[in-house]
């Protein structure tokens, strides 16, 4: 049955030719091969986000008067609504976590180096987009925490000299965070970001398909010294089946988290109430949040938060261009990049922990 369908397709537009690259694709086999799974798991979680997101769209209403109530309705009245929303929230967090792991594994295995610079750039932009998804989606239930997170989060670009204010007004749809902001964020979350993200994922995957999998330099050196050691696995079906197992495990973890620790809703946003004590953003923004909390009010003649925001902006930009700082095969630039990676990881991890422990 399947064979005849394939033959039918093949006779009409050369199905075998189209899928040939996939059948010829191989994956290098060494003791670090497991790290290759992370990108695929992130992609799988993105697919789950698209599916659960579409389901949530069937009942969600993007207006200040109805948003909170509609999410409440999804969670209490719609059958399995609590599960769908919980999976959407948990998968979002897991996806950002696996994307971070993927990025740091690529960094430390030095897969970003020539000729894969653009794979790194598209990947980092995808991570920023994922954080944009997180930030815009966080507001949609219109609860107190989200309201203030959005107030602070949109105030931050507003601090950038010259372009800050127009950017903030564009994001908020006005001077303040109101129902207009909710409508805009809804548009970003369900139309603008998914469109851009899908294109970039295609580019990211096309680059990987075109360039093949990177072999870590140390393994590569061993293989060059002793070519008999070099081993690889066919992508289809051998690697893909292993990847599917990883997806299955991720799905199991996701289902368990969503069912055993359902995502809460909080209280409806009240624009004229004080920010509640203990307010903090999602964990992936926590290191920036904690830094902003610790920066003094004034650094020289400048406001402390402006300095902090500009430093984070600059650091993010340099991070995006990281592969281009590597000159030649070995040497100083490579050690600098490794050092920057270790520093970034240590800084983000320690500030995140500090953010959780600090009152």
């Amino acid at each position: 049955m399947l064979t005849s369908l394939r033959r039918w397709l093949d006779e009409r537009f050369g199905w075998a030719d189209l899928t040939a690259p996939l059948r010829e694709k191989t994956v290098p086999l060494h003791n670090l091969t497991y790290w290759y799974f992370l990108g695929g798991i992130t992609l799988f979680l993105f697919a789950i986000q698209v599916c659960t997101g579409i389901l949530l769209l069937l009942y969600y209403r993007p207006s200040a008067n109805e948003a909170f109530e509609s999410v409440q309705y999804i969670m209490t009245r719609v059958q399995f609504g609590w599960l769908v929303r919980s999976i959407h929230s948990w998968a979002a967090n897991l996806m950002i976590f696996t994307a971070f792991c993927h990025m740091f594994s690529v960094l430390f295995l030095r897969s970003y180096r020539q000729p894969r610079e653009l794979t790194w750039v598209t990947g980092v932009v995808l991570l920023f987009l994922a954080m944009g998804f997180g930030f815009s989606g966080y507001l949609l239930p219109w609860n107190t925490l989200a309201f203030f997170a959005t107030k602070v989060g949109t105030e931050i670009p507003g601090q950038i000299p010259l372009i800050g204010r127009p950017v903030m007004i564009f994001l908020r749809g006005g001077e303040e965070v109101t129902g207009a902001t909710l409508t805009r964020f809804f548009g970003f979350h369900v139309a603008v970001l998914p469109g851009i993200t899908t294109l970039l994922i295609l580019a990211h995957l096309a680059l990987i398909q075109r360039l093949g999998m990177s072999v870590p330099p140390k393994v590569e050196a061993q293989w060059r010294a002793n070519p008999a050691q070099a081993r690889e696995m066919r992508f289809f079906p051998n690697f893909l089946l292993r990847e599917l197992m990883a997806w299955y495990i991720a799905l199991g973890a996701l289902g368990a988290l969503a069912a055993l620790a359902p995502w809460g809703l909080g209280t409806k946003a009240e624009p004229f109430a004080p920010a509640p004590a203990g307010i903090r953003p999602e964990w992936y923004f926590l290191f920036m949040f904690q830094t902003l909390k610790l920066i003094p009010a004034k650094i020289g003649p400048l406001d402390g938060e402006i300095v902090g925001i500009l430093i984070f902006g600059l650091a993010g930009f340099l991070w995006l261009l990281l592969p281009f700082f590597e000159r030649g095969g070995r040497g100083r630039s490579q050690r600098w990049i490794f050092g920057a990676g270790v520093f970034a990881l240590a800084y983000m991890a320690s500030m995140t922990v500090y953010g959780y422990l600090a009152k």
Partner: protein, 153 residues
């Protein structure tokens, strides 16, 4: 076949056509982009309420407590000090615009977002806020507590 001489006016003519074609395309592109950019900027909302607002009534607040009131599109905070005086300030934190609250244990105004503290005169005393909170004037008109912006001297 072609020689140099007849080609020249031809390529000039071609450049002219390209100029008009390119210019026309750019102009039509601009005519698409401009309305879109203007569309993205939200229309200004008229500031409601003006310079004065009734924040509450005498007796609403106990000493050493506070309430948030609406001043135009932004929140203000009305504090009754432990001594029984009224103070009214902007409730928008000067750091990153969270809404502040009164801490009756500290007798100070606190922002929960990034741990900023202000005294009851609005001065930023600790934490990240870079500037003091605006102070408003408080008047009693009958039983109403009326808040107004400070007139610049």
């Amino acid at each position: 076949m072609g020689t140099e001489a007849p080609l020249k006016p031809d390529s000039q003519r071609r450049r002219l056509v390209e100029f008009f074609l390119g210019g026309g395309l750019l102009a039509s592109l601009a005519s698409f982009v401009y309305p879109v950019l203007r569309y993205l900027v939200p229309p200004a909302v008229a500031e409601l309420g003006g310079d004065e607002v009734v924040a509450g009534r005498v007796g609403d607040l106990k000493p050493n407590s506070a309430k948030i009131f609406r001043f135009g599109s932004r929140p203000g905070i009305l504090v009754m000090t432990a001594e029984g005086d009224y103070r009214a300030l902007s409730a928008t934190c000067t750091h990153l615009s969270c809404t502040v609250q009164y801490r009756n244990d500290l007798h100070e105004i606190w922002c929960a977002c990034h741990n900023g503290l202000y005294d009851l005169g609005g001065r930023n005393v600790s934490g990240p806020p870079p500037r003091p909170l605006d102070l408003f004037e408080v008047h009693l008109r009958g039983d109403d507590i009326v808040i107004s912006r400070k007139r610049e001297a």
